[in-house]
């Protein structure tokens, strides 16, 4: 089933909005207004392509910290994200308990994730187990960086899903680096897709800079999972265009030339050119989208800045869920 023109434009819009939002976070950091940002720049195609392959409000997402564009695609608003950057009480992931980008969005079946990498993968398998038990046709999408697939946790999660033919898609966002560590020091295979053969499930590599290609690949895996045919590992290849985070300085471990080379495959530009060449978008429309993105981000910054901080002592709870009546 091919994507409608409207859907394609919508996907591009989400990518663009996420990019401008992400860039603004860097600006706010340089201005000293926020303490920390971890960026998804360069990974929007994979994220939006994947998110648009699952059904909002029905399926489950177990994301990781780079998935800003994926979260926007799933309905998190720019203001919500910005509130988490500022540590404001109303941010929806954690009431500002967690660092920014440790996503969670209950209303969209998006599970809270933490900083220790790969811990989310077994959760995705567990959710899928619940789905299978209930004979529901939901699916789970979960993401991870290629570096984090070195954790035994990821292996165990994929293994369990494969043994029990669970409805889950393991998307690996391979951006070439784990902070400073290149793929060749993580694994002896050509990428995470190749890891799948050792676990008894399908592994697919896709160009992660091409949003519509990723979409189709993930969609196929989602359909397969929905039909009870089990899990898939998908590796989306791309490049982390920014330093690891606002605390990182990537000049110590990669050349500027390398980074510049990859900017030519910037997924926003690729998607824009695709839409332009297919006649789905004009330069004027594009400008309008840019303005819309700018104004939405401006508004969101304002709203987030005005929102109140949590009171310190509100951090005392909630440690435990309400007791049930034991009697």
């Amino acid at each position: 089933m091919s994507l409608s023109n409207e859907k394609k434009k919508e996907m591009f819009w989400i990518m663009l909005l996420s990019r401008r939002l992400d860039e603004r976070a860097w600006v706010l950091h340089r201005q000293g207004k926020i303490a920390f940002h971890i960026s998804g720049i360069g990974q929007e195609a994979a994220q939006v392509g994947a998110a648009s392959a699952i059904t909002k409000g029905k399926d489950w997402l177990v994301p990781y910290y780079r998935d800003l564009a994926m979260m926007i695609a799933m309905g998190m608003t720019p203001a919500e994200f910005l509130m988490s950057l500022f540590g404001k009480a109303a941010e929806p992931t954690s009431g500002a308990r967690q660092m920014p980008s440790h996503f969670s969005l209950k209303r969209a079946n998006i599970v809270s994730h933490s900083a220790p990498v790969a811990t989310q993968s077994p959760h995705a398998a567990g959710i899928a187990l619940g789905i299978k038990m209930d004979k529901s046709d939901q699916v789970v999408l979960t993401t991870i960086g290629e570096g984090a697939t070195s954790q035994g946790e990821w292996y165990e999660a994929v293994n369990f899903a494969a043994v029990h033919t669970l409805p889950v898609v393991f998307l690996v966002e391979n951006n070439q680096y784990a902070i400073s560590v290149p793929q060749k020091l993580q694994m002896a295979v050509s990428g995470a897709a190749e890891k799948a053969c050792g676990l008894g499930l399908e592994g697919i590599k896709v160009d992660g800079t091409q949003v519509f290609k990723v979409h189709q690949t993930v969609l196929d895996a989602v359909v397969k999972a929905r039909q009870g045919e089990g899990p898939t590992v998908i590796e989306a290849e791309m490049y982390r265009l920014t330093p690891h985070s606002s605390d990182d300085d990537d000049r110590s471990y990669r050349t500027r030339e390398e980074v510049e080379r990859h900017k030519k495959k910037d997924p926003i530009i690729l998607a824009k050119n695709h839409l332009l060449s297919e006649g789905l978008l004009s330069e004027e429309e594009y400008q309008t989208l840019e303005e819309k993105a700018k104004s939405q981000v401006d508004d969101a910054v304002k709203a987030a800045q005005q929102a109140p901080f949590p009171k310190g002592e509100t951090a005392a709870s909630p440690v435990y869920a309400q007791e049930v009546n034991h009697g």
Partner: protein, 328 residues
């Protein structure tokens, strides 16, 4: 009221909870056709099928991590770790995930799950089938830690644990599995609340705090010293975390002396927190040093019989510690 063993109480609790609530399931190594290496799940596979009694891969991280995911989805997993000594591969999932999920999501996501594991020594299990691991978890907000000492509590507390919306670690004194018998109500609906400790023997001369197998021995020791005129109060701590400070302090207020007993290593063991609690909030009630009787600070219980005997706290050692403190 039927008299049953501790392990049968555990089995019955799971059986009844599986029957009561379709969301409940059991996952662990050899819990299926084998019925568990301690036979704690015997018959459940046949009764509830392989989707609700799941033989997991040999991987504790998987058992707990998948359990957490299923709990987030809305299920009520009972995860069995075959021996408490093998819980460490799941440590990251328990500490980073299960314990912190509710807090970190500001109450959006909860993890209603039980992690059951047999623990403790004296059964010839050597360094890796004898460990007490409770102290690693009685320090972790977001978790509850329960250790029953008898069939009544085991069944009632395990049922409460399954119904609790939080992650509960449920450690079972394996030496007592068949040794400790007791009456359990026929009423399917009785439960024992998680939280309160219990005074299992009232006394005037000192308070002895214990749990699990050590509580069993403490009661025996109390009978022994009673004949010598020492009247001991025994407190079964039962829920170790959150700490029931009130019951602890109330008992010390009455007796003015405290002895804490556990089989885990002394230093940094659970007894340290009980002692610190009394030393901080019950200080004015005390008229003797707070004593701890615990396993020695060697890595774990050795295998060979004489060495195991050297390591393990038993009724005789407890009686001696009581006499010693009584004469202070």
């Amino acid at each position: 009221m039927a008299e049953i063993t501790l392990v049968e109480a555990v089995r019955q609790a799971m059986d009844e909870e599986l029957g009561r609530d379709k969301k409940v399931f059991v996952i662990g190594e050899d819990v299926g056709v084998r019925g568990g290496v301690f036979r704690a799940t015997v018959g459940l596979f046949e009764k509830y099928g392989d989707e609700r009694v799941i033989d997991s891969p040999l991987a504790e991280l998987t058992i707990v991590g998948v359990g957490i995911g299923a709990a987030l989805y809305g299920k009520r997993p009972i995860c069995e770790i075959q021996f408490a000594d093998f819980i460490y591969p799941a440590f990251n999932q328990i500490i980073s995930e299960a314990a912190k999920m509710f807090y970190r999501s500001n109450g959006d996501w909860s993890v209603p799950m039980v992690i059951r594991a047999p623990y403790g020594g004296g059964i010839g299990g050597g360094l890796y089938h004898s460990q007490s691991v409770e102290a690693f978890f009685t320090h972790v907000p977001g978790l509850k830690v329960v250790i029953p000492s008898n069939p009544y509590d085991a069944k009632g507390l395990l049922k409460s644990a399954v119904r609790d919306p939080n992650p509960v670690l449920f450690f079972e004194p394996k030496k007592g599995y068949r040794l400790i018998k007791g009456e359990v109500p026929d009423d399917e609906d009785y439960t024992v609340p998680i939280g309160p400790a219990k005074i299992t023997r009232a006394g005037q001369d000192m308070s002895v705090f214990a749990y699990g197998m050590m509580h069993h021995y403490a009661l025996q020791a109390a009978e022994t010293v009673a004949k010598e005129g020492i009247d001991v109060e025994i407190v079964d701590l039962r829920t170790l975390y959150p700490v029931d400070r009130e019951t602890i302090l109330k008992s010390v207020r009455k007796t003015s002396k405290a002895l804490i007993v556990h089989e885990d290593n002394l230093t940094g063991g659970y007894g340290a927190e009980v002692a610190a609690t009394i030393a901080e909030w019950g200080f004015m009630d005390l008229d003797a040093p707070i004593r701890r009787l615990a396993g020695p600070d060697v890595p774990a219980v050795p295998f060979s019989h004489p060495m195991q005997g050297w390591f393990m706290v038993d009724a005789d050692k407890i009686a001696n510690a009581i006499r010693d403190l009584a004469s202070f």
